[in-house]
Symmetry: C2
Subunit: 466 residues, 2 copies
């Protein structure tokens, strides 16, 4: 790892900017001050803005293979189409993990939480190859193997009808053994790879699976991740399944904690919000998929007022259909202005930056290590080129970055002090080769029919009153 | 003008794609078919998608100077801050018109409707220099000089209080004379420059101004453009001012027609919607500024069901804060999924493309000339590079373009058959010089205070019940 000093760079200080030098020694921020001595390589920070790296705090990397093509459906039908065409080849998982990492990095992210869809029968192989991809790129990786122990149809409310479901092909206990083996093999926080316990959500998991995950989390000090109340259908299902809200139930079984991050959180009531605050759980806001799937607007301003930590995710690339973190931050900020007419509650660009960086770090229980430009923290840093047309004319750099539509603005990025983007290019892998592989392994298409959608659509429309 | 033939290019046909050649002769589409003879220059269309150019159907170019910096405010306060710092130098207007044209072109637009803020006392000069900028770039321009005849404070509802307002500095008649002179000097549809009559909106215009605009529109065959019911405050104001809705009033005074396009249309009721359909008026949807300013969600799905023509705009760059048309199309499509739980009503990517192209042409009364890939129409065309990482893996090209987050994907663009983007670069002006000028004439800043906001904020909060 090479020491370096960024000179004459703009950083945010209280409600202003300052021009400083930043020394990075042994992968950590050693000093931030004007006119520092150059240690290691000198890097020209002139006309550039330095920010802590953002967190893409919820995604599913292999969805990249289906971006742009899934029908305009709500989650429950969208999911059926997704699974009918999910990639089953570990090499595809490898390529889409690379692609997810690259797009995250080029939009200001230095960490990614991959709620990773596992290839049935090749679970450990899937985790191994995603780990390999993230290590090769050098992004900080939080691999959250997506597990469930109920079959897909169990994820919809029954309504008036008596529904029965196929049992899931593997027991909770057997699934937990796989996760424990993955922890043993791949969980290396110091090397930038973390395994999380990550049940899909209340819609597809029994209490046994949640409780087993909590036990593993406690034993190995793992973060916990899950979907939570993404859709109105899930809100109904929770009442059918537990006779209380999903949040009340998750609290009762002990899943909520200061190392628990919960994707979506669209359909929570005020009592639920108080529980998230009390348990110090983190909400991961995925505004683009919430719109695309018609899930609703998560009550993010209420979370902030209640003191709940909130950060942003792109969600998988086939419900977004991109991995541009700056887009998620922009829409995830301005979307809420229509939910509260008092503009004094609206999220400012500086608050959005803090949510995306320190908020992400808090949700993954590493706020003492990364998430801000603080002496002593690891250097997960991004340097933005303020001379790019999309950031001109010069006004407020953070305002331009968050509220504008920046493209090609990431000049450099470092993770743990290692440079992985320089001059706007990823330095660790060959992105042109990646592009070629993605091209060669796919074809343009318009017509495909999901058999599962055909089976379940009528029931969905009935239950949802459509 | 050079004839050319695009070979082996993907185009959209019914619900599929076809690979064809497209001949352009004398600026118009002469033939679309596989294996055509090459006329003029051969252009390689392999792995590219050809679409009709989109319309950036509502913007205010000079707002570019304040993008990223205006406080998180609702329209009425935002506007006060905007005007306190509006550029007053025609050279700035020139540069921001160039910038607006470039960003529109690089995101798939070939036409721009510039609801142009006029420098007081230099109205014709402002129009002249914007005209010059658009002609230099070569984008199809619809210059809609922003006029009003009431002062800014008249734009807010009075509520219980008795408010008086300064008279506006120029009469409706004098303003209309300026517009008529602009029409004589600059309205040249065949050369790609159109002048529109464009009263700001009911909040700042008397009936005399609206009626004078209608008269000019009839006499010179000009399109009509205005803001309409962007905010809840404007809805209240219309009731105070007219005792009926703004739409009922505009119909009564004859402003609505098949050449009238109306920006925003957030606060319309069902009877208003029926009036828009009956008068064949066009709604210009500006989703990003509607979110940024907390204006609300325009009922776009209702418009479509009622048969109202809808197209997209970026709105000015300080309420967006960008001019990326693909972003406006994406958010303007998926935003509405949360307003209607029946997904069969949701806007599909193909529908969005049609709204952005043919919908824009209809709104400007030129659907017989542009807006689709139709033999005989003028060649306002955009060629997208489908090998760009943001459009990979290959799935549904239009799905990727509309739902994804494409960047650097416009390979070529032609307006009226003239190529103005080639190999991803604008060919008509020097974009690096533009960038340098924008940089030199601006500075990074965070702290500025709007005096007008300080004067009106208390009243705004009272009237709006905050």
């Amino acid at each position: 790892m090479l020491d370096f000093t960024i000179q004459n760079v703009l950083i945010a200080v209280s409600d202003d900017y300052a021009t400083v030098d930043v020394q990075i020694v042994d992968g950590a921020i050693a000093a931030i001050s004007p006119s520092l001595q150059v240690i290691g390589t000198a890097i020209d920070g002139k006309n550039k803005l330095l920010l802590p790296g953002f967190f893409n705090a919820h995604t599913h990397s292999s969805e990249m293979w289906q971006r742009g093509i899934i029908s305009m459906f709500p989650l429950e039908l969208w999911l059926a189409e997704l699974y009918d065409f999910a990639p089953l080849d570990p090499e595809q998982v490898y390529l889409s993990a690379l692609g997810t990492a690259v797009e995250t990095l080029l939009s200001g992210g230095t960490s990614v939480v991959d709620h990773l869809v596992l290839i049935p029968g090749l679970e450990l192989e899937t985790i191994a190859i995603a780990t390999r991809a993230y290590k090769e790129v050098g992004i900080r990786a939080f691999i959250a193997p997506l597990i469930q122990d109920e079959s897909l149809t169990a994820g919809m409310p029954s309504g008036e009808s008596a529904q029965t479901h196929e049992p899931y092909f593997r027991s909770a206990a057997a699934t937990l053994e796989i996760i424990e083996e993955a922890v043993r093999q791949f969980h290396r926080p110091d090397e930038g790879v973390n395994i999380l316990v990550a049940p899909t959500g209340i819609q597809l998991c029994t209490d046994a699976l949640f409780e087993g995950c909590t036990e593993l989390s406690d034993r190995y000090n793992l973060c916990r991740h899950s979907h939570l109340l993404e859709t109105r259908a899930q809100e109904k299902l929770a009442q059918e399944k537990y006779g209380c809200t999903a949040v009340e139930h998750l609290k009762r079984i002990g899943f909520l904690s200061n190392k628990t991050s919960l994707a979506h959180c669209v359909w929570l009531n005020d009592a639920d919000i108080a529980i998230l605050a009390e348990t110090q759980s983190t909400v991961v806001h995925n505004p683009l998929s919430n719109l695309r799937l018609g899930s609703g607007i998560a009550p993010i301003l209420k979370y902030r007022q209640a003191g709940v930590n909130v950060t942003f995710g792109c969600d998988g690339a086939s419900s977004n259909d991109s991995q541009d973190l700056l887009e998620a931050i922009k829409i995830g900020s301005i979307l809420h202005n229509i939910t509260d007419s008092d503009y004094q509650h609206w999220i400012t660009p500086r608050q959005a930056v803090k949510m995306a960086s320190l908020g992400g770090a808090k949700g993954l229980n590493i706020a003492d290590k990364v998430g801000s430009l603080t002496v002593g923290k690891q250097a997960d840093l991004v340097l933005y080129d303020l001379t790019n047309l999309s950031l001109l004319p010069r006004t407020d750099p953070i305002g331009l970055l968050v509220l504008g539509r920046p493209s090609n603005v990431v000049n450099s990025a470092w993770v743990n002090g290692k440079q992985i983007i320089a001059d706007g290019k990823v330095t660790t892998i060959n992105v042109n080769e990646l592009r070629q592989e993605l091209f060669n392994r796919s074809q343009w298409e318009t017509k495909r029919k999901s058999e599962t959608v055909a089976q379940i659509e009528a029931h969905y429309r009935t239950v949802m009153g459509l």
